[in-house]
């Protein structure tokens, strides 16, 4: 195994703050100017700055970010879903990147975040997780949305039919939900959960 013999404690983690991320700050300014009230909360700096918008304003915000010539977030890099059962919420994160705007040398040397992505996140209630689609803005979001639906059961509305992508159509439940239980069997094949899971 990779851990060495002596159990010295790790170096204390670097303070996770740093100065605000200019790309996220620009996105925030844009949204506050063009869509006031859309941003519900935000984290300005650190390793992973983000902007939280309401599900109803997501498409508006996403379109603004995509069409802004300064940001030019022309690619939806990844759509991830996270389940938060404690707060009864589910979260969808959109990591948007730009290929038209290359970061300058100063940005590339930033210690905590040198990747000029913008993270847009949406929280929806866990019992009825519905998020409007961004497939018409970035076509590639199609499969990411399908996968998020498949594994977490978050429904994306306003798009063409939403099908499972990785699992069989009749698979019980959405496995990445925190309360998902292993089914006893699938079509008569017994399922033995791995030890410790």
């Amino acid at each position: 195994m990779s851990e060495p013999k002596d159990k010295t404690p790790p170096a204390p983690p670097r303070p996770d703050v740093g100065e605000p991320d200019p790309v996220t700050a620009r996105a925030l300014a844009l949204l506050e100017r063009r869509a006031p009230g859309a941003v519900l909360a935000h984290e300005p700096g650190g390793r992973h700055p983000w902007l939280r918008v309401g599900a109803d304003r997501l498409r508006e915000a996403a379109r603004l970010l995509r069409d802004d010539p300064d940001l030019a977030l022309d690619c939806c890099h990844l759509i991830s879903g996270v389940d938060w059962p404690e707060t009864g919420e589910m979260e969808v994160l959109y990591h948007l990147v730009s290929y038209a705007r290359r970061p300058d040398a100063a940005y590339r040397r930033r210690p905590l975040k040198n990747d000029p992505f913008v993270c847009l996140r949406v929280r929806v209630p866990r019992d009825a997780p519905e998020v409007p689609t961004v497939m018409d803005l970035w076509t590639g979001a199609d499969w990411h949305e399908r996968e998020t639906y498949d594994l977490l059961g978050i429904r994306f509305t306003g798009r063409k039919e939403l099908h499972r992508i990785l699992l069989p159509e009749d698979w019980p439940g959405h496995p990445l939900r925190k309360d998902w239980e292993y089914p006893a069997d699938y079509h008569g094949v017994p399922i033995i959960p791995p030890e410790g899971l």
């Binding site: 159990k7 992973h48 690619c75 990591h95 970061p103 990785l166």
Partner: protein, 413 residues
């Protein structure tokens, strides 16, 4: 029966599947070959035919299934279906400690295992705030670039195979075999290495190994013109690939195509240079992109092939520079037996042979991640054939899929 699924769907007179070609997960669409009786005693008529290309098909590079609707040889519509080798990488990542998750990462893109490990370790290290020794960073770059060379020459050879040229495939295997031996000698595995570890790498590079590596680099450099004679500069190859499967800049960005395919669409972007991670900012290399100046148009299969060939040359440069600047020192940081990163989240991306592998990771201070989400570049790259494959010939579709160089292990994860 799933809503709108194609399973057991009756064949309409038009030969189309009701509900579109948008089928569900794993089961093949039951599309009946049109009844012979239909053709008897009627006027001659033509109809479109629905093919199941895969999951067992020589040109789908694994278990990709593409349902295509053809008019003769022309593909009118197509729908890729994935998920046949879904191995729950993300679910496992939430269930096992960080250390134990690393071997699973190898298995996503099994032709770029070193690069996968590199990214996964980077994500965990950033999450936990671990400093990696400098020599370890150099070791990582060296093995990742060797992996890229292996992956690209494999892609080049397999692409020849897709186009019916068998010989380049076996020629590249001669070098690939040496490279696999090289990584085998370092890590003990030929395909799945588990060499890059959290906080460094498993073993130090020995002087003998470095000599072996130099011989390998020379061999690849010597043989590369041979592959190009057989493929890149071959007239039939150019005919087959130039102007075929054009993914233009806009289409590529909309679909999230990354890696060599994106660069072939004239997007000058390489994570190693533009979002430098590890010690890539210390090396001098070019990012091939756009038109090759040999044949074809920007964004076609030929440019994608050319970008890969050029990237092999650039990787050779990077490895040589890394060898020249290899510092002394430890290769593994001191870490606790149980890694518990502080609460937080991180998003990391890296340039893999097939495109940008990215990982979003959430920690809540436990020894297992709360959520791990991986972006397999092939996942986004293969989706684009839905749009680009329309109106091509079946032979061109094979050329297109081959030129995207997908690994299904990464699509399904």
């Amino acid at each position: 029966m799933s809503p709108g699924g194609v399973r057991g769907a009756a064949q309409g007179p038009g030969g189309l599947v009701p509900g579109g070609l948008y089928g569900g997960g794993g089961e093949p669409a039951a599309v009946e070959f049109h009844e012979r009786q239909e053709l008897v005693g009627r006027d001659l008529r033509t109809e479109e035919m629905v093919f199941n290309m895969g999951p067992q098909h020589p040109a789908t590079h694994g278990v990709l299934r593409v349902v295509i609707r053809t008019d003769g040889e022309v593909v009118r519509a197509l729908q890729p279906h994935v998920g046949n080798i879904h191995r729950c990488c993300e679910k496992i990542g939430e269930s096992v400690p960080y250390y134990q998750w690393l071997p699973y990462v190898d298995r996503m893109d099994y032709l770029g295992a070193m690069c996968n490990e590199h990214l996964a370790c980077m994500a965990i290290e950033r999450l936990a705030g671990i400093e990696v020794p400098e020599r370890a960073e150099y070791c990582r770059v060296i093995v990742a670039e060797v992996q890229r060379i292996l992956s690209h020459i494999f892609a080049v050879g397999v692409y020849g195979l897709d186009l019916g040229a068998f010989t380049p495939f076996l020629h590249q295997f001669r070098e690939r075999e040496r490279g696999l031996d090289l990584l085998d000698h370092l890590s003990g595995g030929r395909l799945l290495y588990h060499y890059v570890r959290i906080g460094g790498v498993k073993r130090d590079l020995s002087p003998e190994w470095l000599d072996e590596l130099r011989a390998f680099l020379d061999a690849v450099e010597r043989r590369l013109p041979e592959y190009n004679t057989l493929l890149l500069h071959n007239r039939i190859f150019q005919d087959r690939t130039a102007g075929v499967g054009v993914i233009d800049r806009d289409t590529a960005l909309r679909w999230g195509v990354t890696g060599p395919s994106l660069r072939a669409a004239d997007v000058d972007w390489d994570c190693r240079r533009d979002v430098p991670y590890s010690v890539y900012d210390r090396f001098d290399f070019e990012v091939p992109h756009g038109h090759s100046g040999i044949a074809g148009v920007v964004g076609d299969c030929f440019q994608r092939h050319w970008v890969r060939v050029r990237e092999v040359e650039e990787s050779l440069k990077i490895v040589r520079q890394a060898l020249a600047g290899l510092p002394e020192g430890p290769v593994l940081a001191n870490l606790p037996a149980s890694l518990r990163p502080p609460e937080g989240e991180v998003y990391v991306r890296a340039e893999n042979p097939r495109g940008e592998l990215a990982a979003y990771m959430v920690s809540r201070g436990k020894d297992t991640a709360y959520r791990i989400r991986c972006r397999g570049p092939s996942f986004s790259n293969i989706a684009v054939i839905t749009e680009v494959g329309e109106g091509t010939l079946i032979a061109d579709l094979v050329a297109l899929i081959g030129s995207l160089d997908i690994v299904l292990g990464e699509v399904d994860r």
